[in-house]
């Protein structure tokens, strides 16, 4: 699935720094290998998210930095949240496209999964997911 398809499927738009007019066309062609959603940063790092789409409700700059560490291809922010300028700038500098949709996490993930975006796999060495339950 390409980033351009994501824009269609979840009716997303780009968040760009004020100085930037439009995303470069090659970004739209970026191929997404998998998708994964998380609202906990350490959890993102438990999945093989490389070349994947990170779907999250978090909008602080760490979202981008975390994504950068695992070579995420793009970030989709759900629930119509607008990230602060620092986050937008950090994403731009890291070369990670930052998108937003009005849809809930549930709906965005559901639609993308139905459109054949595979789920990211948990790393073999990572602790079991249920241990994070509070």
């Amino acid at each position: 699935m390409r980033l351009a398809d994501v824009l269609n499927i979840v009716q997303a738009r780009f968040f760009l720094p004020d100085s930037v007019q439009s995303p470069s066309p090659s970004v739209l062609n970026r191929e997404l290998r998998v998708g994964g959603s998380a609202d906990l940063m350490s959890d993102v790092l438990c999945y093989d998210m490389s070349q994947g789409l990170l779907i999250t409700g978090l909008i602080n700059p760490q979202t981008v930095r975390t994504a950068e560490m695992v070579d995420v291809a793009a970030i989709l922010i759900v629930r119509g949240k607008t990230p602060p300028p620092e986050t937008i700038r950090t994403a731009w500098e890291a070369g990670i496209p930052l998108l937003g949709t009005q849809m809930t996490m549930f709906e965005a993930c559901g639609r993308l999964y139905m459109a054949n975006l595979p789920s990211a796999v948990r790393f073999a060495g990572a602790p079991p997911p249920d241990c994070t339950a509070h």
């Binding site: 351009a4 824009l7 269609n8 738009r13 780009f14 968040f15 760009l16 720094p17 004020d18 930037v20 007019q21 439009s22 995303p23 470069s24 066309p25 090659s26 739209l28 062609n29 609202d39 906990l40 940063m41 350490s42 959890d43 790092l45 438990c46 490389s50 999250t56 978090l58 602080n60 700059p61 760490q62 979202t63 981008v64 930095r65 975390t66 950068e68 560490m69 695992v70 070579d71 607008t82 300028p85 620092e86 937008i88 890291a94 937003g100 790393f123 060495g125 990572a126 602790p127 079991p128 241990c131 994070t132 339950a133 509070h134």
Partner: protein, 361 residues
């Protein structure tokens, strides 16, 4: 903040485009003024056709803008000259430019992307476009040749700067000879600095890639140092320091702070254990997975921690009737994380040693 909904038209352009090369991408990034020819030969409406002919022959050009007192009024090309010749024959080369010039001008702005110029070339079938500045004055001309040359230069620059950066860094270990060469990167991390949180890790990861580390190793180091960096921001009273020591065959990262220390390291290592307060959890931290992620990413991990030992300092005030109390951390407390990564021979940052080994086999 610019939030651009992607228009249907953009989407169509993109769908039709399929694979977009770096050159095409550059067509959007480069501006007309970066590739245009500035030094333009111009004529005035009163210049004689015979003089234009001589100018074209001497300067080896096939067209020129017509400027009247700073104002762009037209353009005259070799086709117009041919028309003049056919009309009047050799004897009548005394006509002036104003009689034969084209006044319907096709212009682009200095600040347009060169993609705009390319679109105009396709639409008008013209060989050259006039470039005007913000005040509408002639600033230069642009031909398809200018664009091709500009794109090639930019592509070349692209490749050269990235290669130069990678070359400079990746040959560090073979260009500098010592018994044991190491490169040290140091970062100070301020407490609760969520704006810059993760910036050091991102710089460390980039540095490793430039030094020629394989992406898998850079990712492992990135993950481990990111979790440690966020722990400094979240848990350490005064933040702390990250020191990365890079050697051709190993990378050692020390992360130190001066408190409050970890009461029970084994408990802290338990997946899901976290002392992060609710406001930190709202930011997406406090899953209690950080140390686990570090453990999973490193080849060797060493955690030392001296938890806070309270110290009460009492100073007498006003003739010992009152005492001033202050609580300060006792010296020597804090946490020190040492993370090691060992590079296999074929991953070594020192090219000579790995290729040397290969040829020896």
């Amino acid at each position: 903040m610019a939030q651009l909904p992607l228009s249907e038209q953009d989407m169509l352009v993109d769908r039709g485009a399929g694979f977009i090369t770096r050159a095409e991408e550059l067509a959007y990034e480069l501006k007309v003024e970066q590739v245009m020819t500035r030094d333009v030969k111009t004529v005035t409406p009163r210049t004689l056709i015979i003089d234009v002919l001589n100018l074209f022959r001497e300067a080896r050009i096939s067209g020129a803008p017509v400027v009247d007192q700073d104002r762009l009024v037209g353009v005259i090309s070799i086709e117009d000259l041919i028309r003049a010749l056919r009309d009047s024959g050799r004897s009548e080369l005394r006509a002036s430019v104003s009689d034969y010039m084209t006044t319907r001008l096709v212009t682009v702005n200095v600040y347009d992307s060169i993609i705009e110029a390319l679109k105009l070339f396709a639409k008008t079938k013209l060989g050259r476009l006039l470039v005007v500045d913000r005040a509408g004055r002639l600033a230069g001309i642009i031909t398809k040749g200018d664009i091709t040359r500009g794109l090639l230069n930019a592509l070349q620059r692209d490749i050269e700067t990235e290669e130069l950066k990678r070359y400079r860094a990746s040959h560090l270990f073979e260009d500098i000879i010592s018994d044991r060469t190491s490169l040290i990167l140091r970062y100070h991390i301020a407490p609760r600095d969520f704006i810059n949180g993760g910036a050091a890790s991102s710089n460390i990861k980039r540095a490793l890639l430039r030094l020629g580390a394989n992406p898998q190793l850079a990712r492992r180091c990135g993950v481990a140092v990111y979790e440690a960096e966020m722990n400094l921001i979240i848990h350490a009273t005064n933040g702390g320091d990250i020191e990365v020591e890079i050697e051709p065959h190993q990378i050692v990262i020390h992360v130190t702070d001066d408190g409050p220390g970890i009461e029970d390291i084994e408990q802290a290592m338990q997946p899901g254990f976290s002392t992060a307060p609710p406001e930190i959890r709202e930011l997406g931290f406090g899953a209690g997975m950080g140390l686990q992620n570090i453990k999973r990413s490193v080849d060797e991990l060493n955690i030392e921690s001296t938890p806070a030992r309270p110290r009460l300092i009492m100073k007498p005030k006003r003739g010992r009737e009152e005492w001033e109390l202050s609580r300060e951390p006792a010296p020597g407390q804090g946490t020190r994380l040492t993370m090691k990564f060992f590079l296999q021979a074929d991953q070594s940052l020192e090219r000579h040693s790995s290729t040397g080994r290969e040829s020896a086999e």
